[in-house]
């Protein structure tokens, strides 16, 4: 593991390459293109075996579903419209239990067209059974890539790890990228029990009648919910091997111990919130941050516990439910469904389409939150 000062995307591409996927299938789209380009360079140099330059994203995900069903480790990277175009196969992949992995450079959805960061592209897939991990920075994404494959192949569910577009994908920082040899020790070869194999033929992707369908859905639900444990275990194991951890793997608390006012959020904006928390702590305010890392499965229990002693909580999200209560907000509210007591829970939508959420903004949010009143605002 050597330190390199490079663009996040290229470091992530290298981490992916070091997981030794057999097949990469990508279609370019800002903000994930640099990951695809990094992988293409590895392919050109013979370090990745197969790279399919598909004619569009529906085909990218379809190709890796096929490759995975054929027994190969397979991966793609995409964003926004690309992920949206994949939507139908996103569901199919989870239902077929293929452990594919995708790196998502988060980006706003059209219309209007916008190439900048928000989470709605992946949030819109939250029901599908995919595991979704949101990374605070590129180092976390680098470390999450091998975890993603390992989780996927254990649970037999696809995993997307999400990275804020531009903020993380396009920033040059200093990273440690684990090497292929090291990863090999952590991530065993992919060897599925069932695959497309002329020596042992089975039919995959069958259709199911009303008598069976719900059973399959329930099975995915159960396994997805139970995968909380796997996400955590794999994270912990990675931490032991490589020395870097992210909270408990599911959520990360920042100055929560005595916090009465807590901002809940995800991804790169959490770095800014940490600065804001420190600034307000200086002024004596009991504020804190709860960062969700594992968004799906959602750690309802951990969230309820982490927020139990708070007076007021606000959920800052770069996602939305137009005309409704917003997704992360709803999840946090849902964490308390069976709790006697709960804090005041408020909602902030911000940072859509690349609108910068600065440290100063975060301070403002924390201050508003500290008034203890319920609110639902766009920032």
């Amino acid at each position: 593991m050597v330190k390199k000062t490079v663009e996040g995307s290229f470091a992530i591409a290298e981490a992916i390459k070091n997981c030794e996927p057999d097949v990469v299938a990508c279609y370019p789209i800002t903000s994930s293109s640099h990951i695809a380009e990094g992988l293409a360079q590895f392919y050109a140099d013979g370090e990745i075996k197969e790279y399919i330059r598909t004619e569009q994203e529906f085909s990218s995900i379809s190709a890796i579903v096929g490759a995975s069903a054929a027994g190969s480790r397979a991966v793609s990277a995409t964003s926004s419209q690309g992920l949206a175009l994949m939507h139908e196969v996103v569901y199919a992949a989870a239902g077929m239990r293929v452990p594919i992995v995708m790196a998502i450079g988060n980006r706003a959805l059209s219309a209007p067209l916008n190439i900048w960061d928000d989470w709605q592209d992946s949030i819109a897939e939250r029901d599908s059974g995919w595991i979704q991990i949101y990374c605070e920075n590129a180092q976390e994404a680098i470390d999450t890539a091998p975890q993603a494959f390992k989780i996927a192949e254990k649970v037999m569910l696809p995993v997307m790890f999400c990275i804020d577009g531009f903020y993380i994908t396009h920033s040059v920082e200093t990273f440690e990228v684990p090497g292929m040899e090291e990863i090999r020790k952590f991530l065993p070869k992919f060897n599925p029990k069932l695959k497309l194999d002329p020596k042992n033929p089975v039919s995959l992707g069958v259709y199911a009648m009303p008598t069976h369908y719900q059973m399959f859905r329930e099975d995915v639900h159960r396994d997805a919910a139970a995968s909380l444990k796997v996400v955590k275990q794999v994270h912990d194991q990675y931490g032991k091997t490589f020395g870097r951890t992210y909270g408990d793997g599911l959520v990360e608390g920042y100055k929560l111990k005595d916090a009465r006012f807590i901002l809940v959020s995800m991804a790169s904006v959490c770095g800014n919130i940490k600065e804001a928390v420190d600034a307000l702590r200086q002024k004596g305010m009991k504020v804190g941050l709860l960062r969700i890392r594992s968004y799906r499965p959602f750690p309802y229990g951990q969230v309820a516990k982490a927020l139990a002693k708070a007076k007021a909580v606000a959920v800052l999200e770069k996602s939305y439910n137009l005309g409704g209560k917003h997704p992360l907000y709803s999840d946090v509210i849902g964490s308390f469904v069976d709790e006697k007591k709960r804090p005041v829970i408020s909602s902030i939508v911000g940072g859509l389409g690349g609108k910068d959420v600065t440290v100063r903004d975060c301070e403002g949010m924390l201050k508003k939150l500290a008034k203890g009143k319920h609110f639902e605002v766009w920032w």
Binding site: G95, M96, R97, V155, M156, K193, L194, P201, V202, S203, L204, G205, V206, A208, M215, F216, D219, D223
Partner: protein, 90 residues
């Protein structure tokens, strides 16, 4: 954890012979073992005519009524009138 899949040959549990309203009757006397009926049966349920053998070593064509849907293609394709379609018994 269930990975939705189906196992080879499991369709044999679908006794599609029950779908039949017409029934092919194979006349072994007339059968010249040309294999045409077997080649064209959409149910792949005609057997006997071992095409890898010489004509004289082949068996005559027969169908598996568990699966035959009574389409009548075999009767039409038989060059020797060895198959007759009759109403299925009720």
């Amino acid at each position: 954890m269930i990975i939705p899949h189906a196992k080879v040959g499991s369709s044999l549990k679908n006794k599609t012979g029950g779908w039949r309203s017409q029934k092919p009757i194979f006349n072994p006397e007339l059968c010249k073992k040309c294999g045409l009926c077997q080649l064209h049966c959409p149910e792949n349920c005609i057997s006997g005519v071992e095409m890898d053998k010489k004509v004289e070593e082949r068996s005559v064509a027969k169908t598996d009524y568990d699966f035959c849907k009574g389409c009548g293609i075999c009767a039409k394709v038989c060059p020797f009138g060895a198959i007759k379609m009759v109403e299925e018994e009720k």
